[in-house]
């Protein structure tokens, strides 16, 4: 049974904290940029992290206007169109878990992520 396509994107409380911190620390201009980065980290590892306590953070319409994110997810993973944003949330959660330790330590560096993937 196919699920209804998501109109919003969400994150766990933990993920939402990471997003706020990344924006507050001036690392990303907006939380959306940080969310895309987290998805990319999850994609690069090919790992989805299911979570509970989902909290809506963006509308899909504003987050993925040009459908670049959904396009990349579809291209790199065998995912049904209706499932793309649900998968995106779980990929982002993986990214949040990778980012959180360095953000907490105040040592976030793109170099470390870009050279390790």
């Amino acid at each position: 049974m196919s699920e209804e396509e998501r109109r919003t994107l969400g994150a766990s409380e933990f993920g939402h904290g990471v997003l706020k911190r990344l924006e507050a620390d001036g690392i990303f201009p907006e939380m959306m940029d940080a969310y895309r980065f987290a998805i990319a980290l999850g994609l690069s590892k090919g790992r989805r992290t299911p979570f509970t306590g989902r909290r809506t953070v963006f509308n899909v319409g504003s987050f993925d206007k040009d459908e670049a994110v959904s396009g990349v997810i579809s291209a790199l993973m065998e995912v049904e169109a209706a499932q793309v944003y649900r998968v995106a949330e779980e990929l982002a959660e993986t990214g949040f878990q990778m980012i959180a330790p360095v953000v907490d330590a105040g040592e976030f560096r793109f170099d470390d992520f870009l050279t390790s993937v």
Binding site: G26, I27, D33, L76, F110, D111, V117
Partner: protein, 655 residues
């Protein structure tokens, strides 16, 4: 003065007690001390200065502070006592002089000059000399003002070079010291003494003379005028000395602050650099932030590239399969229509039975229908996917982000390093009030102008006094004939003293002239022996005791090499020794630095004869043990080596 033993303890690079003796036996009167640069040769010269005069000078004759006299390692070990002992003979007496510096009571760890007490003790032939007499005793043996002719170093050489230039404050100072060494002040003091006696006699004469006469009144009036003029001259001279003294005190203070000012300038520069780096760092951070939205694609760039390559390969494969299907389909149609009509659909010829059999066989094996639409769908899907991937793959800001981030890291480290340097510099000059320094500098400039003004006023007043004095002398001479018997004696006394004052005045000039001639002659002899340039005819002395080199046509040699300067300086020292008959002790620090090999050989052979005792502080580059020592070997009575223990510690080893 002849040195016997020097003991130094915790003095500059010398940790613990180091001992040197200076034997003089027969013709052996040279003590040789070898040491590389930064080992402590000049410190030995300074140890002699310190024990005798309680002062130590560094480069440009600047005073070295007490805290810098104390050996660094000793200070680290909390041993804060500096001691230098010197035994020597002079005029048939044996002296023992000890100077000690130690922290004041209740000072646990001294940090500046005020935290130290310094004291000296002296014995002559074993009998202690009272503390307040020590300075004058040393002044009788070797006054500080003329010690420069016994303790010779590179700084002194620079001062001598100034003597041939126009008169300056510095050259006046050296001229004064030279004249002291030559004994000129003795005659000058005599002149002053006679002037004072004359003044008293004139007063007496004026009082005792014919007070009622108009002449006497005029004399009294003139004398009063003279006294007023002299009083004004004294006032101006005292003011001049007081302003000069304040200026010198300020000069000393400002010299101490030179380091602080230099540190201040470096701090300013450092802070400007930090500000510049902070801008660079902030720009790098801003750039990283502006590139951050594209970072997600940079993370996936290699995955996207791989997927794109795979999709392109699959697309190509699907295109080939699709073309193959279309071709099969066309052939199938042709074969079917040929079988139905019995003739070939392409060439219209009748089919042979073999052709019919072949066509029928192929038709039974192939059924291309249905494949084309599948391939067509695949092709469309792959083409869409590829188009999307191509659009994404073009955007990658990874290297730019990394570059901005590394720029940020680099500048952050540079800023931290500079901040550390800034902290270190601030610690070097704690509590220095730069505004106060600026005020003192302004005050110093004001005083300098005042000194110039007062100097002119004093000269003008001197001329005025001389004029009145002359007028008064004429009156005295005129009155002398008409004095009563009781006044005649005083009048004769005045006349005699006036004549004596004139004699002294002329004698001072004559003595100076004769001494200059004597110094010039002796220095020329020495110069001719030492110089390797035989075209030089000799030296000519000027009013400042500067020596000009004359060539074979008696013309002044205006351009002098560094080596020539050194030869001239040595000649002057020798000339002064001859003229003052005081060639007792000569301690020379790095005296051969500027000389070539030939000059070095000449000077080395000559030096032992320049004084009764010669101490040479030299480095290997000046006197090589293998190459140069032969010139002086038979005159060496003792030799020492200054050995390095650490950057802050040296020791003296007898060879």
């Amino acid at each position: 003065m002849k040195l016997l033993t020097l003991r130094v303890s915790n003095f500059m690079p010398y940790r613990g007690e180091q001992v040197m003796t200076f034997p003089v036996t027969g013709t052996r009167n040279v003590t040789l001390v070898h040491g590389d640069n930064m080992r402590g040769k000049t410190s030995l010269l300074n140890a002699l200065r310190w024990v005798l005069y309680g002062e130590v000078v560094g480069r440009h004759l600047r005073r070295i502070s007490s805290i810098d006299i104390l050996n660094k390692d000793a200070a680290y070990d909390r041993d804060f006592v500096v001691k230098v002992s010197l035994s020597f003979t002079h005029d048939g007496h044996e002296y023992e002089l000890v100077r000690t510096m130690q922290p004041k009571d209740l000072i646990d760890k001294p940090r500046d000059d005020d935290h130290f007490d310094s004291s000296a003790s002296m014995r002559r032939d074993g009998v202690p000399i009272s503390g307040h007499l020590i300075e004058s005793e040393i002044g009788n043996i070797l006054p500080n003002s003329i010690s420069r002719f016994s303790f010779f170093d590179g700084e002194l050489l620079q001062e001598y070079e100034q003597l041939v230039a126009d008169a300056t404050e510095s050259s006046d100072r050296i001229k004064d010291a030279i004249e002291r060494a030559l004994g000129v002040p003795t005659l000058i003091n005599g002149r002053l003494h006679v002037a004072e006696l004359l003044h008293r006699a004139q007063r007496q004469f004026a009082k005792e003379g014919n007070k009622d006469s108009q002449h006497a009144r005029l004399m009294q009036q003139t004398l009063d005028e003279l006294e007023d003029a002299k009083s004004e001259q004294t006032r101006l001279t005292n003011l001049f000395h007081s302003v000069s003294e304040e200026s010198e005190t300020l000069d000393d203070e400002l010299r101490k602050y030179e380091r602080a000012e230099s540190v201040g300038a470096r701090l300013k520069e450092l802070r400007e650099n930090v500000a510049g780096l902070e801008e660079t760092r902030d720009r790098a951070l801003q750039r990283r932030r502006s590139l951050a939205p594209g970072a997600w694609l940079a993370i996936l760039s290699s995955d996207i590239a791989a997927r794109k390559e795979d999709a392109e390969s699959r697309l190509l494969q699907s295109q080939n399969s699709y073309e193959e299907s279309v071709r099969s389909k066309v052939e199938h149609s042709l074969r079917l229509s040929s079988l139905e009509s019995g003739s070939c659909s392409l060439c219209q010829q009748d089919l042979t039975s073999a052709a019919v059999a072949e066509f029928s066989r192929k038709e039974s094996q192939e059924d291309p229908s249905g494949n084309i639409s599948t391939f067509s769908n695949d092709l469309a899907t792959l083409a869409r996917q590829l188009q999307r991937l191509r659009g994404l793959g073009a955007v990658s800001v990874g290297s730019e982000i990394i570059q901005a981030e590394r720029e940020y890291d680099r500048t952050t480290i540079d800023i931290a390093r500079m901040r550390q340097r800034e902290d270190d510099l601030v610690k070097e000059v704690p509590g220095i009030d730069m505004m106060d320094i600026s005020r003192k500098r302004q005050r110093k400039d004001l005083l300098q102008r005042e000194i110039g003004k007062l100097d002119s006023q004093v000269s003008a007043q001197q001329s005025k006094c001389a004029g009145i004095q002359k007028k008064y002398d004429t009156l005295v001479k005129a009155a002398a004939g008409g004095q009563e018997a009781s006044s005649q004696l005083i009048a004769r006394k005045v006349t005699l003293l006036s004549s004596l004052a004139e004699i002294f005045e002329k004698s001072v000039d004559k003595l100076r002239h004769k001494l200059r001639a004597k110094v010039e002659e002796a220095a020329t002899d020495t110069f001719r022996r030492l110089t390797t340039e035989k075209q030089y005819s000799g030296l000519r002395i000027n009013d400042q005791y500067g020596l000009e080199i004359r060539d074979h046509m008696d013309r002044t040699v205006s351009v002098r090499s560094a080596g020539a300067e050194q030869i001239v300086a040595l000649s002057l020292i020798d000339g002064l020794s001859h003229a003052s008959n005081s060639a007792g002790l000569l301690v020379m620090d790095t005296p051969f630095g500027r000389l070539d090999l030939k000059h070095r050989a000449e000077v080395l052979s000559y030096l032992p004869g320049m004084a009764e005792q010669v101490v040479l502080l030299v480095h290997e580059g000046e006197i090589s043990k293998d190459r140069d020592l032969a010139h002086v070997a038979d005159r060496v009575s003792a030799a020492y080596e200054i050995e390095r223990i650490s950057p802050t510690q040296s020791r003296i080893v007898a060879k």
